[in-house]
């Protein structure tokens, strides 16, 4: 997470120089941008598509599209936000292709408010993640977030995992700020509810 925040918050002037040079055809400058953001794009793509092969394709296609369309990047938003928008669109396209039976849209307002109301209220252990090994924890987190509707998952990943602001998330997803806020709250509450079974305090009991 530290890396991401550092990347995103880095001095804009240096990034603007790289973007301008890349726009002028300097591939070495573009490669620096690739190295700066490829991990973020991969993570976002994998979270949305839930498929490794698709995520690899998204990384390639998103960067290529960004390169091809640098002329249209106005510099009003951050390069990273613009790149995320391209990557999210590519990822959603692949997700729709793979699961055509389910219409997937970021605009879908999937469930009612009730689905996000806490059903189980239980205290967690003081450091719940330490009950599990790193690989068990990754598995739990991956499986849990996979169960969220794509629209919620995407907002949560951009806001809470990648550290974009609400406004940047709204810009990247072409959603309104209230829509982002509503999805974020529901995503957070639903994830909390689903993680309960792994992390809740079990005094004197073994975990499953």
């Amino acid at each position: 997470m530290e890396t991401i925040e550092k990347n995103v918050a880095e001095a804009p002037s240096e990034e603007t120089l790289l973007v301008n040079a890349a726009r002028g055809g300097d591939i070495a400058s573009f490669e620096k941008l690739v190295k700066r953001y490829d991990r973020n794009v991969f993570r976002i793509a994998q979270h949305i598509t839930q498929n490794r092969e698709d995520a690899e394709d998204v990384v390639q296609d998103a960067f290529l599209k960004a390169y091809q369309n640098l002329g249209q990047f106005q510099g009003q938003s951050k390069f990273y936000t613009w790149l995320v928008r391209i990557a999210v669109n590519e990822a959603l396209m692949r997700l729709r292709r793979r699961r055509p039976e389910r219409m997937i849209s970021l605009d879908e307002d999937v469930k009612t408010e009730e689905d996000s109301m806490p059903r189980e209220v239980a205290d967690w252990s003081p450091n719940p993640e330490q009950q599990y090994s790193q690989s068990e924890l990754k598995d739990i987190l991956g499986k849990t977030i996979q169960g969220l509707p794509a629209g919620f998952r995407t907002v949560f990943v951009l806001r809470d995992v990648e550290g974009l602001s609400t406004e940047e998330t709204a810009a990247a997803l072409e959603l309104s700020v209230p829509a982002v806020k509503s999805r974020l709250l529901r995503a957070r509450l639903q994830l909390r509810e689903r993680l309960n079974k792994y992390f809740k305090r079990r005094d004197g009991e073994f975990r499953p």
Partner: protein
């Protein structure tokens, strides 16, 4: 304040993006409502755990292959205005390595 009102404000509370008055009202509610206190703490933990865990890492070897594929496509686009030939080659390279 009702619990449902507290929940509506929970995200802004956790992100600390609210005015002092609303924040004070929420904290007053938290003092006596154990359920909201637990939901607030566990939601905060949920965010922190996701933030602190790299669920999907990009392995160095794959990263290298993706870089080569991206750069060769960009070079192809620069020369011809089209990325198609490099795309096919790069995509097969990437997948054959798995």
């Amino acid at each position: 304040m009702k619990c449902s009102d507290f929940l509506k404000e929970l995200s802004d509370y956790l992100d600390n993006t609210m005015d002092a008055k609303t924040k004070a009202d929420l904290e007053e509610h938290l003092q006596w409502c154990h359920n909201c206190y637990v939901v607030c703490n566990t939601t905060k933990s949920t965010i922190e755990i996701y933030r602190g865990t790299e669920v999907y890492e990009l392995p160095d070897e794959l990263r290298g292959r993706l870089h080569s594929a991206i750069i060769s496509k960009c070079e192809c686009h620069k020369k011809t205005g089209d990325a198609a030939p490099a795309k096919t080659e790069a995509a097969s390279n990437t997948k054959s390595g798995k």
